[in-house]
Symmetry: C2
Subunit: 410 residues, 2 copies
């Protein structure tokens, strides 16, 4: 008998028929002897409807009251799913975040979970109930309703799995797992059976949006076995996200290729070539809450240097404004922006023990005549900025070079 | 400085604009120094939308989970109203039933309030907050969400007024008070400035549906001053519902005339004329959950008696079935039904000290050629069943006879 936490997103519970489908799936797990805790989101569209309503009522909706309103979306779903479960003969009980209780800090609309009281849920499980918990919400020390921010239901599921030491936390979504890359670009892309938390974090933050990144961090921290599955398919094992140490089989060097289309390159020309200039430039940009991917500082000439970095395209104007305000520190300079950039990243924990990945990546792109404009790396990731028009080609050749369509790594 | 509880129904908070209107009204009370607690219903249509959703999900929606779903309607309204209040510069705080906490029994969908914790509300009031409480809901001893049944928000308002010893409980609705009778039938009908709880109960149960009857009972029991007002008019004092003892002015004999169109008369012909026969007939009908208005047993003949009573027209079939099942106790009999009946009632606490009201009522109707088919009475009410076609005429002549269009009673 296993204890399983299952999370169903808004699309999976988007209408009464889908809610009844979820109930049937839960019934199958219970029938084979598992204890099941289900975490649900609001029905798709519901959260947006509620937010629109608040904007009609108030110019500046108060955050505490916004949480009171928005948290009703998940409350409706837990009640409906429990009814559906009871209607097909199961014992079931719903819990709001406050009823669990999921204690959070008081940062309304983006609260962090502090602790979860597992005792009442444990007792109801032992009496044969399916437990249905509202995702995305909690209460603070004073009993105020809080919400966890976008994608918070994933975090709720992982936190409950951690608190109850569940055997597995299953995230049901509209894809059947994590792929080596986007199958719309590389039809040979392969669903990964396993991936490590670290790799998942690099893939998620680079655009493969399957799981809320916070929930992956949380799962890694508390060693919760996470599995991504499709709620629209009955077959399939999805993708298991685990600690590296759990994996016995040989590690492929590269697990996946992520990419991001909406990149822009900003180059500061002729900034003084002195220690600390990188901070003088990137500091003000980061302070303006703009994500910057670290860049290569080009070689200096005549005591000046050209310094490039990439930001999301939507952030270009904000970044330019921040640089303009910081003129005094940076010194006299000219700025060039190029908004036709894309970023491609190869990700894999195997990189640590296999040198030469970067060389192979650069050579492969070079052979296709793709010019690498910038490079950024982490311990398990190499990212390059290239012209956007080469994006699909780059992803395809890298996918092939690193043998990702095969069953084992290159 | 007064402490006022205000309750706004679904129509009064039916859309964002109306919610902002309620906020402005509350602001006026606060500006003149009153402390205000607001109780709100779900936005009109919302409760029905949620109930429809549950019926799409489950054939037999579980009552506990039904309460979880339906209670979100009021939760949305409290959040929205608080935002609107803060948006115009007031301090405000919302409370769900569980946050108050409004402790109820565990009878889901029809729970009864057991106690209210006034301490947190009192504290927030003293800090200058407007308190906004979700009507219609509470929690039981185990923390399960409960609802109070139809019209429960009135009861919530009265219960909170009782717990906090409020100076007045104001029920805002879409009429501007309680009238001597329906102005659509008698254009001269007069809004009452005052009425006693007892009278209100008799008028409410007879069809003048302004206030939830349970909330009037509650207000009477806990001596809460209740006032009915229009939420769509800025002027007017509405109708104050008080204990009889509060009233110094001379009591009018009759306060109002209630009526009910949907009546049917059921007559059991030739039942044995023996003690207990009334119970043999009415017992089974009452057990089938049918409201019966006590009736006059006609004089017996040859050891048999004809026994008549009235029920709501929609209950006729159910009543006939109940009588058929009880054949053994009632004995051989024939049943006649007449579905073209109406009931007219004169109500007034003054009746107690002024005999002759019944005689005057019967004479007035007789003069108009209206045949009285049955009579039922309480200490402060006389009801007659008449043919439905005479209903408007009867109400008009009685309204005139008892001088209800004038400022003081006859």
């Amino acid at each position: 008998m296993a204890l399983i936490v299952q999370k169903y997103g808004g699309t999976s519970v988007g209408n009464p028929e889908r809610i009844r489908n979820v109930a049937r799936r839960v019934a199958e797990f219970q029938a084979r002897g598992d204890q099941v805790i289900v975490v649900v989101s609001a029905m798709s569209g519901e959260t947006n409807r509620l937010i629109a309503l608040t904007k009609e009522v108030a110019k500046h909706p108060d955050p505490r009251e916004l949480d009171v309103v928005v948290s009703t979306g998940e409350q409706v779903t837990i009640g409906l799913l429990c009814m559906a479960l009871k209607d097909i003969g199961l014992k079931a009980k719903s819990y709001t975040g406050g009823q669990v209780r999921i204690l959070t800090d008081s940062s309304h609309t983006k609260a962090r979970i502090l602790s979860i009281d597992e005792a009442p849920i444990r007792k109801d499980l032992e009496q044969g109930n399916v437990i249905v918990v509202a995702g995305f919400q909690g209460v603070d020390e004073q009993g105020n309703i809080t919400t966890l921010g976008r994608g918070g239901s994933d975090t709720t599921a992982v936190a409950i799995a951690a608190a109850l030491k569940a055997d597995e936390c299953q995230i049901y979504t509209d894809v059947d797992g994590v792929y080596t890359t986007d199958p719309r670009i590389v039809p040979e892309a392969r669903k990964l059976d396993r991936i490590t938390f670290e790799e998942m974090l690099e893939l998620a933050s680079l655009g493969s949006k399957v799981l809320q990144i916070r929930s992956v961090e949380f799962a890694g921290k508390y060693k919760v076995k996470l599995r991504v599955l499709s709620s629209f398919q009955d077959e399939g094992e999805g993708t298991l996200i685990t600690l590296e140490e759990d994996q016995n089989m040989e590690q492929p060097v590269i697990s996946g290729i992520a990419f991001n289309r909406d990149e822009a390159k900003i180059t500061v020309l002729g900034a003084p070539d002195k220690p600390g200039i990188a901070y003088s430039i990137l500091g003000p940009v980061a302070e303006a809450n703009i994500d910057v991917d670290r860049s290569v500082q080009s070689v200096g000439h005549d005591g000046a240097a050209d310094f490039s970095f990439t930001v999301a395209r939507g952030d270009v104007d904000k970044a330019l404004k921040a640089l303009d305000a910081a003129k005094a520190q940076i010194g006299e300079h000219v700025i060039e922006t190029d908004s036709s950039m894309a970023k491609v990243s190869v990700v894999g924990v195997g990189m640590r023990s296999h040198p030469g990945v970067a060389a192979r990546m650069f050579r492969t792109l070079g052979e296709e005549g793709i010019n690498i404009q910038m490079i950024a790396t982490s311990e398990i990731r190499i990212s390059v900025a290239i012209e956007e028009k080469y994006l699909e080609l780059a992803v395809r050749v890298l996918h092939k070079t690193f043998g990702l369509e095969q069953q084992s790594g290159a």
